[in-house]
Symmetry: C2
Subunit: 482 residues, 2 copies
């Protein structure tokens, strides 16, 4: 890939080179430090000089990088090196970097900072940016930050923090430009030129009346393509999409996707402008939600720093593992009840895990499709019964098909027609159970306002395992043991 | 929620109401049709009149809706009703609706259309939009469409179709505005006003030289905030992010997130402008990739229409289920080998599924974290060994901890110290195996250019099951059977 003289061709190779260079600098620093320490005669002075030299090299390196690139590098560094690198980042970058890193990494960075220092960093940020990282800031530092804000900023901050994490109010910013509808476009252009700078993601201006009620939006495109003598009222879009702060982010994200929005006003129940929501927050949300869904399937509770301490990671994963210990033991107790049946026909011990495993797999297929359809807002009260009917039909077909295969395979293995019949019937019944459970868990969790993805897989597998063992061994007891 | 007189407060309740109204119209139509058919005396004429009446009601309903909303309604309708609704959508909306629906639903809509009709619909679309749906268009219709394009359009279309699905070239459009650097801003504003309309997502203009090489970008914000007398060359941004068509969409999506981009130029190896990439394509990609990852975990191969025929759904899910049949049978053959051991000590039959299940769960936690870190580009050659070391340490801690719990629980159940020892050791070893497998599968798949998410869970579970049974029963045979 040739790097042309003009412009920057983005590639992650570049980022990896930067990371490698930072690591080299850090390792050099550590090496020199250890050399100095080994030589007891050397004074602290030399150590300090060498250290400072390396730090300024690191500082120069970081000064050339975009805060988001610095964040990516910090996320890829192990804890000890990350701390040293963080100290080398000039203060006027720190705020932006803190915003860009993941929550888990932000906590490791903040944990090493004094309240005073943190308040300084926060002073580089907008109110909405402070709100983004507020959850990770210790109380003492937060008080300092609050004291440094003026009345308007403090009430803005409180407005955002009043919303819960899954409401769009928590993601709003205040970087909006408002105009009146009786201006002409020329006056608007003069006004913008006087402002000197537009907030990022400004693709439209919000038109408000004297009570701050949003009357329409003026896209920059309309501002640029219409005659300057026209009035805002004649050019603005009145059929625009707007949201209220309490709406769920998942729903709003779908609206952003559907209508290809870049920014949208957030209003209160009277139509008064409260703030603005931008596509970058939505993209971050969709990415984070997708991560969460994937991880929660495996029973990992929250975002994990790639290099968080082993103990922290362990705690993060034990929750569901312990649930698993309990459910796994419960399902084996069912086998325990039928130990006499197994002693009569030991082939049952070999065959029973298949019934359980296939049930788990089929149930997971159903539940994943439901979880995804719920996430896309495709399941509505009007079509849910049709969908359930379809999944059940599918379960009967799959059950018959896989039941027959299983019956035939066990016939080949054990030449026992009765055993094969039990195998096929248990398979059929357990697949039906699995699909019903795979339908019910996410739908019920969703109905009661819980995230349908969390823990579904663990609960489902626990049920299909227990039921699989029970159905198979109970049928065997009734039909095979004389 | 009050609906204010000005503007549209977005809410999915609105969409659900629309869906309900459409369904009511459709059901009325079907009802009247059946009434007419029952009365044999009625002529075809009346039937046609009634049908037409309902169709025009449906048409009016759809005419008021955004194409994306129509698409969402079609996706929520069962096949038969979807077909009738589709016929009621006026031709000048059809193209946009086809673009907005999911691939699976698009296929059901297109399958009922004549080549002629489809070519007409395509004529409403831009070249890049035709490229988006090209994969679903039958050959005969595609030829008709190609014949209707001019030379430039045909070469644009070919340029997009030349890229594979996971390269950004396949997502580019040609809705860019190019200007020369020697213009002043006033001239640019006059030029835009003459164009009369800007393509959607235009947040910047591309500055090119006479060879179409991109020299910089002029954000609309700079155009609006700088003095009109200034030259483009003095105001444009030269340190801008650009991409090449062959770059992977996953990598480019991360760049869009990192640098908060709305649009970016795509250039060839000489820096010549090829096309444009916009945030809406990126958001769609992130959403689709997340769906795919989630579904592939459960062994569902591709996007499924909520109402696709039962047979189509069954085929979509059988692939992995059959793989599961094979792996499940393989793991039970291992149990078969140890049937004599189980006959000696039937408690083994109850305990062995726990070893397998806990191994699967732990391995899945590790593999999911790796898959996610790979998707975020966090795993680089420089930190992979550190990360492996961390996961292995974690496996040893978890193995010891869970091994001890399992040993204790089985001691309580069976009062057999030797059996508990075997249980604890087998647990420990299988958790180590699980973590190693959970690390190796996604890393190796990624290294060889495959999607690390596909099938990982199925393969992992197959290995942890077989190994779990083998380790436990083999240890039991050696240490418990005299």
């Amino acid at each position: 890939m040739t790097q042309s003289s003009v412009g920057k061709l983005h590639s992650e190779l570049f980022l990896q080179q930067q990371l490698q260079e930072v690591i080299t600098l850090l390792e050099k620093q550590q090496l020199e430090k250890s050399l100095v320490q080994r030589d007891v005669a050397t004074t602290d002075l030399i150590e300090t000089v060498l250290y400072k030299q390396q730090q300024s090299r690191l500082q120069n390196k970081f000064a050339q990088l975009h805060p988001a690139d610095i964040a990516a590098i910090l996320e890829s560094l192990p804890l000890d090196q990350r701390q040293i690198a963080w100290e080398a980042i000039k203060t006027d970058h720190e705020g932006q970097v803190l915003l860009e890193v993941s929550d888990a990494v932000r906590q490791t960075l903040i944990s090493g900072m004094e309240a005073e220092e943190l308040a300084n960093v926060a002073s580089q940020l907008n109110t909405d940016e402070i709100a983004d990282i507020a959850a990770d800031i210790p109380k003492r530092a937060m008080l300092k930050i609050l004291r440094s804000l003026n009345g308007k900023e403090r009430s803005d901050l409180n407005a955002i923090l009043a919303y819960s994490e899954n409401q769009i109010g928590s993601l709003m910013d205040f970087g909006m430009i408002t105009i009146r509808s009786d201006l002409n476009l020329k006056a608007v252009i003069v006004y913008i030129r006087k402002l000197g700078k537009l907030p990022s993601h400004t693709d439209k201006l919000f038109v408000v009346d004297q009570n701050n009620v949003v009357q329409g939006v003026l896209p920059l495109q309309r501002l640029l393509t219409h005659r300057p003598a026209l009035q805002v009222a004649d050019v603005m879009v009145t059929d625009f999409v707007r949201f209220q702060g309490y709406q769920e982010t998942a729903e709003v994200a779908r609206a952003f996707e559907r209508y290809d929005l870049i920014s949208a006003p957030i209003v209160d129940e009277n139509g008064k402008l409260q703030g603005r929501l931008c596509i970058d927050s939505i993209l971050d949300f969709v990415r984070e939600k997708s991560d969460e869904d994937l991880l929660s399937q495996a029973g990992v509770d929250e975002e994990e720093d790639l290099f968080s301490s082993v103990w922290k990671s362990a705690r993060n994963r034990w929750g569901w593992l312990l649930v698993n210990v309990v459910t796994a033991f419960a399902s084996t107790r069912i086998i325990g009840v039928f130990e006499d049946v197994i002693l009569h026909l030991v082939a049952l011990a070999s065959l029973m895990p298949i019934i359980a495993a296939m049930g788990g797999n089929t149930g997971n297929q159903t539940s994943m499709l439901i979880i995804r359809s719920l996430a896309l807002g495709q399941i509505t009260p009007t079509n849910v019964s049709r969908m359930i009917k379809k999944e059940l039909t599918l379960a009967i077909i799959n059950g018959t098909f896989i039941g027959l295969i299983m019956g035939l395979l066990s016939l080949l293995l054990y030449q026992d027609v009765a055993l094969s019949g039990v195998m096929a019937s248990a398979m059929f019944i357990n697949l039906l159970v699995a699909v019903v459970v795979g339908l019910v868990i996410p739908l019920v969790r969703h109905k009661f306002g819980y995230d349908p993805a969390v823990g579904t897989s663990v609960i489902l597998t626990a049920i299909t395992d227990s039921m699989g063992f029970f159905i198979f061994l109970a049928l065997a007891k009734v039909f095979l043991i004389k």
